[in-house]
Point group: C2
């Protein structure tokens, strides 16, 4: 069962296991597409109607510090979170808010190799993420 794993994640990060934190982790686990705090709040409140909004924000920030979630860089005034810790890149839709995961080990490796050789003066590279910007072509909307 999943709850065991979740509470392990918390213990491993030296965080007390609380219902609020479990609820946020559950939300992160089931919400796809890089949810906002607001989406996470909605999900959490379905099962735990009296979790405070501030708690959700604080929890997300705590998780971020511990590396249990990542923040997804966007050009919008609203934060989005990513529970997928495996290295990956992102497809950004120019027309909608949609952000999709893009896994490509070959690409990741290519980039890493490139920066192994190519030193950047005064900068130590720790991570490389590609923003793949464009538009989704959902077959249906192709009939203009």
């Amino acid at each position: 069962m999943k709850k065991e794993k979740i509470s392990m994640d918390l213990k491993n990060s030296n965080l007390k296991v609380t219902p609020q934190r479990m609820a946020v982790l559950e939300a992160l686990d089931s919400l796809k597409n890089h949810p906002t705090a607001d989406k996470i709040k909605e999900y959490v409140i379905k099962n735990h109607p009296n979790v405070a909004v501030g708690t959700i924000y604080k929890t997300l920030e705590t998780f971020f510090e511990k590396g249990l979630v990542k923040k997804v860089k966007t050009e919008k005034d609203v934060m989005r979170y990513d529970a997928i810790l495996k290295k990956h890149h992102h497809l950004y839709c120019e027309d909608t808010e949609q952000i999709e995961d893009f896994f490509d080990d070959k690409l990741t490796k290519m980039l890493e190799e490139y920066f192994k050789k190519r030193e950047i003066p005064n900068f130590q590279v720790k991570d490389l993420k590609l923003q793949i910007i464009g538009t989704f072509i959902n077959k249906k909307s192709l009939n203009k």
Copy 2:
């Protein structure tokens, strides 16, 4: 003189040439490091003390629509702008807010080639930007 070029930029975009717009373009031109709207406001107000804040935001959004500025993706709740239209990537400092430009045509070309071959189902790639995440090593702070 520079003003000529700036007002040309505006005319070419079918935008009326106003002092406010000139001022924002001047600010963008001289502020480095991907300024926030707030930094731009400060700069503008030095020379034109009664430009309204809303005007600056609206102007920036207009410029964005016309492609005169770009928005820089960050994981902060504050927008940052980029007046450099030439294709480039960004160095993000993990510890500070610093974002530096990274020009590397070889890298850019490598990425473009890669995605020329590698089709992504249901997605049309229009732009590729690399987030190079790490820390700046300013020689001075190396003496711990």
